[in-house]
């Protein structure tokens, strides 16, 4: 769950939300974690939201099963089309760092790290109380190729975030 402070009526204030992120990659793992969402009136009247998240299969598919342990550190920004409305449509770009634990020295020859670069689009809904949720689909432009990028970096993912606004 991400925690965000909802001041939708006060367009001059900052908004800072923190919360939880749940991600399912198409044909692969659940990877869950935490995220931050920030905007302010100086960010083009809150059209732009800055975000940061960390999510891992360690809090998803690898928690109870033999999925590989992989971590994602992501920063990015969204463009909200209707920043003053409760229901928003958004598009965004993300970048970051990906790492997968390959268990054993036998696999040291394989790539374990990669830069991330993705595009994302979806809906964001602010409740009347200081909670918000977003549902989106994303596409990783960088994904595993059998040569020099980690094989469990897949292209399409679906993401649900829940934010609590603390400011």
């Amino acid at each position: 769950m991400c925690f965000v402070h909802l001041d939708a009526q006060d367009s001059n204030s900052d908004e800072l939300g923190v919360g939880l992120r749940f991600q399912k990659t198409e044909q692969l793992y659940w990877e869950n974690g935490v995220g931050i969402d920030y905007t302010s009136s100086f960010l083009l009247k809150k059209h732009i939201h800055l975000k940061m998240s960390y999510f891992t299969s360690g809090l998803g598919s690898a928690m109870f099963e033999n999925a590989l342990l992989q971590d994602n550190f992501v920063v990015g920004f969204d463009w909200r089309f209707r920043p003053q409305k409760n229901l928003n449509f958004f598009v965004g770009l993300n970048t970051g760092f990906f790492n997968v634990d390959l268990i054993n020295a036998t696999f040291n020859s394989l790539p374990q790290n990669s830069m991330l670069f993705s595009a994302e689009t979806g809906f964001f809904y602010k409740f009347k109380f200081p909670l918000a949720t977003s549902l989106s689909v994303g596409y990783n432009f960088i994904n595993g190729n059998g040569i020099d990028r980690p094989g469990t970096l897949f292209p399409v993912y679906y993401q649900l975030s829940v934010f609590y606004y603390i400011k």
Binding site: E26, Q27, L28, S61, E65, N66, A67, L68, V100, L102, I103, N104, T106, F107, S109, L110, N143, G144, N145, G146, I147, P150, G151, T152, F154, P155, V156
Partner: protein
């Protein structure tokens, strides 16, 4: 024509062209059905249960490998192991032709992965019933998840337990990640095409119907999921994975997923060897262009390793 109508016309024309389900199949292609591997003569030549249907006690004691090829391939993929076995006279190789493969485009399109697997099961049952005591399996590429599925479902419990399983460049994750979107893109694609070298023509399908790509994705996704839950080998069964470090077909991380998900009956890890190769199914060199001395040495080293594990 108005602009809006023009765009709609172009859009629907593109969809119709994209959905073309009738590839241009030539007689020389395996897809044509005119160079079938499924004819009785070919099956008799490749299957131990066919050409050794009345085995002697000595033959029943000799190790036999049931070798399963990969997606779109034929028994040709394991010809060199069979030649090796014939020269050493220490084991036999039974080359199964996967269901739907080596026949025609229409047969391929109509088959599901359970059909592909059925010929492995049939040959295993026949060899077990004939009394062969030392049965091994080898799976290359898609042959590997088909065999892993047999272990997971407990197929071997009713027959002679396999002594060992060798997996060469197994595919659990495709290197081309577009395959993960085949459910969405498949109907638009209709089929995909692969370039074959001169020596490969007539031995692999050229056209890959989207229905078969979906079957492949279903099989490897199921196998990955099963590996996450854990798969245990039957008691006394050995397993080794040989995997090219660079592979543009079966992502090398497939070996990691198998290593993490498979366990011996005692709970130990299986053997994995990451080999220095850029070839997919590096044990098959015949028909390839640009084969190096290192490729040949690696192939022979691998065959010798398999032989040593069958004849300790």
């Amino acid at each position: 024509m108005k602009n809006k109508s023009s765009y709609l016309f172009i859009f629907f024309t593109l969809i119709l062209v994209s959905c073309n389900n009738t590839p241009n199949i030539q007689d020389s292609m395996l897809d044509s059905g005119k160079v079938s591997y499924a004819i009785p003569d070919s099956l008799h030549k490749h299957l131990v249960s066919e050409y050794m249907s009345n085995p002697t006690p000595s033959q029943l004691d000799t190790p036999v490998i049931i070798a399963a090829h990969g997606y779109t391939a034929t028994t040709f993929e394991w010809d060199e192991l069979r030649d090796f076995a014939n020269s050493k006279r220490l084991f036999y190789v039974s080359q199964v032709l996967l269901g739907g493969h080596g026949r025609s485009y229409a047969d391929f399109k109509a088959a599901n992965w359970q059909d592909w697997q059925s010929s492995i099961k049939d040959e295993y049952i026949k060899l077990s019933n004939l009394g062969f005591k030392n049965i091994y399996l080898a799976g290359s590429s898609t042959g590997a998840p088909l065999i892993l599925n047999l272990i997971k479902t407990g197929f071997f419990n009713d027959y002679t337990i396999p002594k060992g399983i060798f997996l060469v460049d197994p595919i659990i994750v495709s290197s081309n990640k577009t395959l993960t979107l085949v459910g969405l893109l498949g109907p638009v694609l209709g089929y995909t095409t692969v370039e074959l070298s001169q020596g490969e023509q007539g031995r692999w399908y050229v056209y890959r119907p989207q229905e078969t790509l979906k079957q492949l994705m279903e099989l490897i996704n199921l196998t990955r999921s099963n590996l996450e839950k854990g798969i245990k080998l039957p008691t006394g069964t050995y397993m080794k994975v040989y995997k090219s470090q660079i592979d543009e077909v079966a992502d090398p991380i497939s070996a990691v997923l198998i290593y993490k998900g498979m366990k011996t009956s005692a709970g130990g890890f299986i053997d994995v060897e990451m080999v220095k190769s850029k070839l997919h199914v590096f044990t098959r060199l015949r028909g390839r262009e640009g084969v190096t001395v290192d490729d040949i040495n690696l192939q022979q080293k691998t065959f010798l390793d398999m032989q040593a594990r069958m004849n300790p």
